[in-house]
């Protein structure tokens, strides 16, 4: 049965938009204030018929819009102009035009989200997440094809009998008494529990902070991270120039790095010998680097026919008796330091190992132009083997 204390309001359904407009007008003329109209789609003129005042929700939007704009501007000003000033693209420390798009986005975001939250907070009476009209027969109808009006019991003029009679006289049908749902207090939101949560959170936070910042630095712990040392980017209180980061002592050699003693010395009588054996992988590396760096001028086979069609002086052939007579070390020196002022230094393009590999590959090219009789028998043997293998 209907519980008087829990009565939310009395609802009626109407069949056409004109009827609901008429009903809303009459209800407001009868002096009711707390009533609402629900329709499947917006009806033009309903707010005038209901004598609705303009919504106050706009002020929430306005306030949070301004709040969003000013807070993001403050944030960008503080981070980019005060706390860590950066010159970006030669612009001033406070480049307002660059901040405008972000300010705009943040203003809209803030205004929209806060309006939405304010709206559901007012309609649902947060923390509750439903409305008494939900799950009623009335709501089922007004969300499909009927137009509904509900007068709430909070209205000072509310009287169950007179309201039902009024709605009936206006042509409303399926008059429905709508109950407030039994709203049990939400246990999670009880003050005791919330205070308990706050205390637990406080204790956890304080003990975590104390453990990580104080307790772990007491003896006997002795962490490597916590030692007297310079940090690369930090300011030094010890060195005169205030840099913690020091330059290496003159003559320092990096690990795994063998310096070339004749760097920049073009004509020298002392040479190194090739540390690499002409294995398959070394020759493959040498071929790759030769084709990349040497072949544009010296030709793909070292024959001195350039691919540059005269746009750059062609390199000499590598098959002359003079080049064949060069020691590996001399060729290495030429690659490293350049020669005759025309061939530049390749020290920065080609690594040390690659240079030696290229030299091995040049030797192969030279041998291919001037083979020894034994080479032919070796080749035919290799061909025979591979022929057998393929069979």
């Amino acid at each position: 049965m209907v519980d008087e204390k829990r009565l939310f309001g009395i609802a009626a359904l109407f069949d056409t938009p004109d009827e609901i407009l008429h009903a809303a007008k009459k209800v407001s003329e009868a002096g009711y204030k707390n009533y609402d109209v629900n329709t499947p789609y917006p009806i033009h003129g309903i707010d005038k018929a209901m004598k609705l005042k303009s919504s106050k929700l706009g002020y929430v939007t306005l306030f949070f819009g301004f709040f969003g704009a000013s807070s993001i501007l403050f944030f960008m000003w503080w981070t980019l102009s005060i706390n860590y000033p950066l010159v970006i693209g030669g612009k001033p420390y406070f480049p307002l035009p660059a901040f405008v798009p972000i300010t705009f986005e943040f203003t809209v975001l803030n205004a929209v989200i806060s309006t939405f939250i304010a709206m559901i907070a007012i309609v649902f009476n947060l923390p509750f997440n439903s409305h008494p009209l939900h799950d009623t027969n009335y709501m089922k109808n007004v969300t499909s094809d009927k137009y509904g009006l509900v007068i709430e019991s909070e209205d000072p003029n509310f009287d169950e009998y007179r309201v039902s009679e009024l709605l009936k006289s206006l042509g409303g049908n399926s008059i429905e008494l709508i109950q407030n749902p039994e709203r049990k207090a939400i246990k999670v939101l009880e003050p005791k529990f919330i205070i308990f949560l706050i205390i637990v959170a406080g204790i956890t936070a304080m003990s975590t902070w104390w453990t990580l910042n104080k307790f772990m630095y007491l003896p006997p712990w002795n962490f490597m991270s916590n030692q007297n040392k310079g940090s690369a980017q930090a300011e030094s209180s010890f060195f005169y120039d205030k840099h913690e980061m020091r330059e290496p002592v003159n003559g320092t050699v990096a690990r795994g790095f063998i310096p070339y003693a004749f760097e920049g010395v073009v004509d020298t009588n002392e040479f190194y010998s090739n540390p690499l054996l002409p294995t398959k992988s070394v020759l493959a590396l040498g071929q790759k680097k030769f084709l990349t760096f040497c072949s544009p001028c010296h030709g793909n086979y070292g024959e001195g026919v350039s691919r540059l069609h005269g746009f750059f002086p062609a390199g000499p052939t590598l098959h002359s008796a003079r080049v064949i007579g060069f020691s590996d070390g001399k060729i290495y020196n030429i690659i490293t330091n350049g020669q005759n002022g025309i061939m530049p230094s390749y020290a920065y393009q080609i690594t040390r190992d690659e240079r030696w590999a290229i030299i091995n590959y040049i030797r192969v090219l030279q041998r291919a132009q001037n083979p020894k009789p034994t080479d032919f028998s070796a080749i035919s043997e290799i061909n025979k083997e591979s022929g057998n293998a393929s069979n």
């Binding site: 303009s54 035009p97 660059a98 798009p101």
Partner: protein, 404 residues
């Protein structure tokens, strides 16, 4: 009850009896026009180069008003809008300046040597960039394409407005359908041609400057000031009973919303153009803004930001202000004045590019006085022969019942 569609023979003549506009309106228009023309002639005698820049400012202003109003008419047809039907004739009256643009452009063609640096053969000969551009920016092609564009606008104006007026007497619904098709064709053509026209007359004043969004900027201005003049006239006419008795405040709402929307649209476009060029800081691009920041122009630019965006925005934000006749009248007058300032700001700083120095002169007021006078004269003259309501429009009855 579902609203019955109005029948073909339906007229709203019972609600509307044509009232003549007061004589004082055309007197005012003629006075302003004559004063303006005399002052313009004086300024032309004093300094023809300076006067041609002032003339271009006024021309751009007139162009924005005429095109913006025609755009509103074609928008109404294309969108099938109901609320704006009672105000359509007002937009059509303002669009009647479009045929005059064809006449008024002739003096501009004769003052091109003052306006454009590329008209000087010595400048062009010394610069490869200019030489490359001469295939597009040469006088015959320039003149022909701008006349063609004006003719196309005039053609659409003529067809759409003729059909609309015919409907007053023959009540033919098919004319609405024809106009919908014409309007749908006009809108893309308008968007394209207004870009070309603004590139020709405004962008080519600044050597080597380019901005692809510039046509949209002029479009935003045109639509903005078009809605402002229509709002001003509609509200004044309605409040004084010239448009019949059935227009409610609800009809005003969308006029205010249009002005509000295009206030924001202009700000969006103007800022997009500014921010990209300010950030890129390339010499050929930034020179446009440097000229508008040097000396006193700095304050004009800042005033433009406030007057063109912030003031109308704040006035039109509240819902009630869009239905308040007083606020609408104030804001639309504000917009019209600001639009002239914007045209001034677009044209005048470019004087520097052609070797002139700019200094403010009171004779600059001659051209806006003449322009405003011309619009009032045209409005009053055309309104004399026409109904101020499209009484044959099939949507008119539904429009009376419009509410928010």
């Amino acid at each position: 009850m579902p609203q019955t569609e109005s029948s073909i023979n339906y007229t709203e003549k019972t609600y509307y009896i044509k009232k003549e506009l007061p004589k004082s309106l055309s007197t005012l228009g003629f006075t302003l026009l004559i004063i303006g023309v005399i002052l313009s002639l004086i300024s032309y005698i004093i300094d023809p180069a300076r006067a041609s820049f002032g003339y271009l400012t006024a021309y751009i202003f007139l162009l924005c008003i005429g095109l913006g109003s025609l755009f509103l008419v074609s928008m109404e047809y294309t969108a099938g809008a109901v609320w704006s039907v009672p105000f359509r004739r007002v937009s059509e009256l303002f669009a009647s300046s479009i045929p005059f643009l064809l006449l008024l452009i002739i003096p501009l063609f004769f003052s091109m040597r003052h306006l454009f640096a590329w008209m000087n053969p010595e400048v062009v000969a010394g610069d490869k960039v200019w030489q490359a551009r001469m295939s597009y920016l040469n006088v015959p092609f320039f003149v022909i394409r701008d006349i063609v564009i004006l003719l196309v606008w005039w053609l659409f104006y003529h067809l759409i407005i003729r059909n609309s007026r015919k409907q007053d007497t023959n009540l033919d619904q098919k004319l609405t359908t024809t106009n919908i098709k014409l309007s749908a064709a006009f809108i893309p053509i308008f968007g394209f041609s207004v870009s070309i026209f603004s590139f020709d007359w405004l962008m080519s004043m600044v050597p080597k400057w380019f901005s692809t969004i510039f046509g949209v900027y002029i479009f935003a201005d045109a639509a903005w000031v078009g809605f402002a003049v229509v709002t001003l006239a509609s509200v004044l006419l309605t409040e004084n009973g010239y448009l019949g008795s059935k227009i409610k405040k609800d009809h005003y709402y969308s006029l205010g919303t249009w002005m509000f929307a295009f206030t924001i649209f202009w700000a969006y476009i103007a800022f997009s153009q500014y921010m990209l060029q300010w950030y890129g800081n390339l010499p050929e691009e930034i020179i446009y803004y440097v000229h508008r920041w040097n000396g006193g122009w700095k304050y004009v630019s800042l005033i433009l930001v406030i007057a063109h965006f912030i003031v109308p925005f704040l006035f039109l934000v509240p819902r009630n202000s869009k239905t308040n006749p007083k606020i609408l009248i104030f804001v639309s007058i504000w917009i019209i004045a600001t639009q002239y300032l914007d045209s001034y700001w677009l044209v005048m700083p470019s004087m520097v590019n052609n070797g002139f120095t700019y200094s403010f002169s009171l004779l600059d007021f001659a051209f806006p006085i003449a322009a405003v006078g011309l619009i009032i004269v045209l409005f009053a003259a055309v309104a004399k022969k026409q109904n101020l309501l499209p009484i044959g429009d099939p949507k008119l009855k539904r429009s009376w019942d419009f509410h928010l």
